[in-house]
Each structure stands twice: as structure tokens, then as C-alpha cells.
Amino acid sequence: MITIRYFASLREQLGKEQDQIDSADNMTALDAWNRANTGTKPPDNILVAINQSYARLDSPIGSGDEVAFFPPVTGG
């Protein structure tokens, strides 16, 4: 099982906070996105975190991982 989390404007656009999907061999963060959001491409400026560390769309993921997608950060 892989947990996918969405934050901020992306969360509002998608209308959901998270997805749970089954894991498969050789998955990337992008694969997880595509499985959970069929037909919707990730925004160009999307940021990716795997297990709460920054990663990339082509970073590998596996069972038990938490993948997060969010827009550019605007804190401070």
C-alpha cells in the first residue's frame, strides 16, 4: 500500500487530501500520481516528497511509502 497526500491549492483542485493505492514493482512517484489521478497530468511546477523528504517525479517508491504532491511553497 502507498499513501498519496496532496496539499494546498492542489488539494483543493483535486478535491481530496489523500489516496491509498496498491504498490507494484518498479514504481515511480509519477506512476503513483497517474494511478490515482487517471487522465490528469501533474502541474508543471509540482513538488514531490517521498517519506517527507524532497524527491522527483521519477524517484522510485515502494510499499509503505508516503508520497506527497504540492505546489511551490510560500511560507515565511
Partner: protein, 146 residues
């Protein structure tokens, strides 16, 4: 703890006083402290802003901010750093963020303090949503340089 996430309004000067007392007591090891505080303004990009909501990624936020402090400590001769950041519903004139660095030397204190706020703005998972004068809402799309 050198990273504090606050879900209610706080007095930045009181937080600094408490941290310094707790961390250093009557020790005279540091000579220089540099502090930045960021306060919510009531305008942005030409519009009145009545209120703001700050979303964050609990867990990742804290670990990112702790990494920033570790990074500042490895780059400059600083004794300790503090980062405080507000989340949730915020009103104008309330403090959003505090970064601070204690050092024996003022250049190290200034540079570490500024590094912390710049890196925080570019890397820490916080997102601002503004409520404008007409009650419409908008997400802040990106942070401004400088």
C-alpha cells in the same frame, strides 16, 4: 527544541526571551544574536488582505526546519538557532515567522539568520491562502525574492 510550530498568535520577543533564557541562562558564551521576524501585512500585490490561512505538512515541516538549522550550524560558527513559524488562521500584524542565530561573531549571526529565512521561504512546506477585502480567497502562488 529549536523549531516551534505555533497554531495560535504569539509574541516573538517573548519567545526569544524564553528560548534565550532556557538555552543560555546566565552564560556569556555568545556575543552576537541576529533575529528576523516576519509579520503579516494587510496588503499584498496591491490588494487589501483581511486574513490568511497557513497550511503546512506536519512532520515534513519540522524535519525540513531542523535540517536548515543543522545546515546553518555546519556553514557558520553559530552556537544555536531558533525557528518559529505560525500555522492556521492568522490576522494582520500577527507574527508569522522568527529566525534567530546566536554566535560569538556578528557576521556569522547575521549570515546564518538570513540563510534560515531565505531557505525556509524556498524549501519549507508551508502555503499561504489570503482572504481579500471582498472576502474572496486566493492562494499565494510564489514567494518574492529578497
Amino acid at each position: 527544541m529549536s523549531v516551534l510550530i505555533k497554531s495560535a498568535a504569539y509574541d516573538p520577543w517573548q519567545v526569544l526571551a524564553d528560548f534565550q533564557q532556557q538555552r543560555f541562562g546566565a552564560s556569556a558564551a555568545y556575543g552576537a544574536t541576529a533575529v528576523f521576524t516576519g509579520t503579516m501585512r494587510d496588503f499584498n500585490e496591491g490588494d487589501t488582505v483581511k486574513a490568511m490561512t497557513l497550511e503546512h505538512y506536519p512532520g515534513m515541516t519540522e524535519s525540513q526546519l531542523e535540517q536548515l538549522i543543522d545546515s546553518a550550524k555546519s556553514r557558520w560558527d553559530v552556537i544555536d538557532c531558533l525557528i518559529v513559524h505560525r500555522v492556521g488562521a492568522i490576522n494582520p500584524a500577527e507574527t508569522i515567522v522568527v529566525t534567530a542565530a546566536w554566535s560569538a561573531h556578528r557576521s556569522a549571526a547575521f549570515e546564518a539568520c538570513r540563510f534560515l529565512i531565505e531557505e525556509l521561504k524556498h524549501n519549507a512546506p508551508f502555503w499561504k491562502k489570503e482572504t481579500l477585502g471582498d472576502d474572496s480567497e486566493r492562494w499565494v502562488s510564489e514567494n518574492t525574492p529578497g
